[in-house]
Symmetry: C2
Subunit: 366 residues, 2 copies
């Protein structure tokens, strides 16, 4: 696969390459959208917390790490059950190296972070199996749109990432109600991707809300309200508001397809300004198919940060190469932004060194 | 008084002029810090609401006007008891003309705005007469500092404004506890400035908390906690975080002196990056003395937008020339930013035309 610096051109190469060269050296703003959903507490759905209740703390802890360099609402950093650290560690390291500013936007949280965050008027999400997952979706999209409009005036482009445990399951819910066949294609933070469980969970939500596959193709607000999560409307609104003016790098894995499907219905005009930026681990994952979902929606470029933790001295980081975690907190997109801002000076080796340095500090301060 | 475009050089002319020329045509970000305090409900203290309870709605309504061009939490726009419209109308018009982005930061509110706002972990303020006015001051300053650090990376300079009814009384409280003699010098949104009432109110708070004039000269956190308001720590933290990197135009009247006193203690290094931007109406006001307070603290430049509503076709705007309202919601600073961004193309006449156009729309939509 062709690369520019350590950025892989995964899909729509020419458009992706043109965008990279246009944004080289330019100023970006990273926005991390967060939310929580009870869906994450279904046994086996998410690796984001060691215990189900910990999933409420993962998003606030992730953004605390981004803005402060350490977590406040938990000790240490968010880890998988095996102790593998949050991808926020990658994001934080990339943003620091490249001196890229970060903001946090909440779509609805059980626990608020102990750092500044944009309140968008949302509430935490419910278990999608009841078919009434999220309140106030239209209003959150609208408020996020206003924020996106203003933030777009502060940067040459926006990088928007996310943190919400259980998010690939709710993304699957939105995609299926909107007629995008994502069964067996969404990714997972666990090496064994529990597709059957995710599909069963979404199907329970569809049944509870009497919705069939594709029935909400033109009604993304209802799709999110029934079987989505509160991060999604925040993310989609930011994209709609910002991409009317500047390019937006949607930083994430298969959840980005759900955002894309929503944006396409609410404002197809902005699609020309969108690109997905993810990690190599999402692209090489054999249990998911980002490109296979995205191309059902719109042919926007997909870029991937060619991160490589094989040579890391930390087992916790090496585990990323075995398919654990893979992506999250905009790790791939933040890495891409850091690489192009530095015009390639920040290579995957430079970044790994910074990540290890930060990880060491965090391990020592536990 | 010497002017550059329609910006008056009020104090520290040479420094002010150098800064204006350095910022000409540059990108700014406007941040409106808001809060509420029960102090505003003391009869005769504030003109910001027709009825005391309305003061809870003024700050959210002001920022809704800024971001949406109309208010949501109230019908119409905030007005004085005589029907004179909020200075947010000036700010909104200036920001729109010059395409300057705006964000909102809350230090603690009774009523949240129906637009995106940065939550800084604060609470609404209590009546300062009990001497226990604000919670969580240190934490709000710290969170605001983090926000300011990040926002400073998105702009060439920041313009920070405020909206909090009762704010000149709480500013007087902070100034007196910190040893700045501001008695009879703080301004008022009313033509008759109720100095005696303000002093009596502050003295009750000093007595309740057993603090004498100047006793908290080195402890601004305690000064705000005892007799301040929740907007102030948000404003001060933003200034401290941002001015370490870029110039900050502190947009307001005599309340800016209270912010300045706090910043001077917490981080005197950033003073070199500060300037106060206000309106002509504050400078010509004979019932207050901005310069007389500021020069007791630090010799930073004072600029004033030479706004002129004498020729307005609206009585509600003409009233500004009679000393009603005068300043607020960063009206003076936003006007200055618009004038220097446009390199003088936006004159006071151009701005008045835009303000009248917006006012007309708002009057029609009531």
């Amino acid at each position: 696969m062709r690369k520019i610096y350590d950025v892989m051109l995964v899909h729509e190469e020419a458009k992706g390459e043109a965008l990279l060269s246009r944004l080289e050296g330019k100023r970006s703003l990273f926005v991390c959208t967060i939310g929580t959903t009870e869906t994450a507490k279904i046994s086996g759905i998410s690796a984001a917390g060691k215990y189900p209740e910990l999933t409420d703390y993962t998003p606030p802890a992730d953004v605390e790490l981004l803005l402060l360099g350490k977590c406040k609402c938990i000790s240490g950093v968010p880890v998988t059950p095996e102790g593998i650290p949050t991808p926020a560690l990658i994001t934080m390291s990339a943003l620091r190296l490249a001196d890229i500013p970060a903001l946090v936007a909440s779509g609805g949280l059980k626990i608020n972070p102990q750092v500044p965050f944009l309140d968008l008027g949302g509430n935490p999400g419910r278990d999608i199996r009841n078919g009434k997952a999220v309140n106030n979706v239209r209003e959150v999209i609208e408020r996020a749109r206003i924020a996106g409009q203003n933030l777009a005036k502060t940067a040459d482009y926006l990088v928007v990432g996310e943190s919400i445990p259980g998010g690939t399951t709710t993304a699957l819910g939105i995609l299926l109600t909107m007629g995008v066949d994502a069964r067996g294609k969404v990714s997972s933070s666990m090496p064994g991707n529990p597709h059957e469980l995710k599909i069963k969970t979404v199907e329970a939500g569809l049944k509870a809300s009497s919705i069939e596959f594709g029935a909400l193709a033109d009604d993304p607000v209802k799709a999110v309200s029934c079987v989505g999560d509160p991060m999604i409307p925040a993310f989609a609104g930011l994209v709609i508001g910002a991409a009317a003016r500047v390019p937006v790098l949607m930083a994430g894995g298969t959840q980005m397809a759900a955002v894309l499907a929503i944006v396409k219905v609410l404002n197809p005009y902005v699609l020309r300004n969108l690109v997905i930026g993810t990690t190599k681990w999402i692209i090489t994952d054999e249990t998911s198919d980002l490109k296979g979902i995205v191309t059902q929606i719109a042919d926007i470029p997909i870029l991937a940060a060619d991160l490589d933790f094989n040579q890391s001295k930390f087992e916790g980081l090496k585990a990323y190469e075995k398919g654990v975690v893979k992506e999250g907190v905009g790790a791939g997109g933040a890495t891409i932004a850091a690489m192009i801002k530095s015009k390639g000076y920040i290579t995957k080796e430079v970044l790994l060194e910074e990540i290890e340095r930060n990880y060491e500090v965090l391990l020592g301060s536990k």
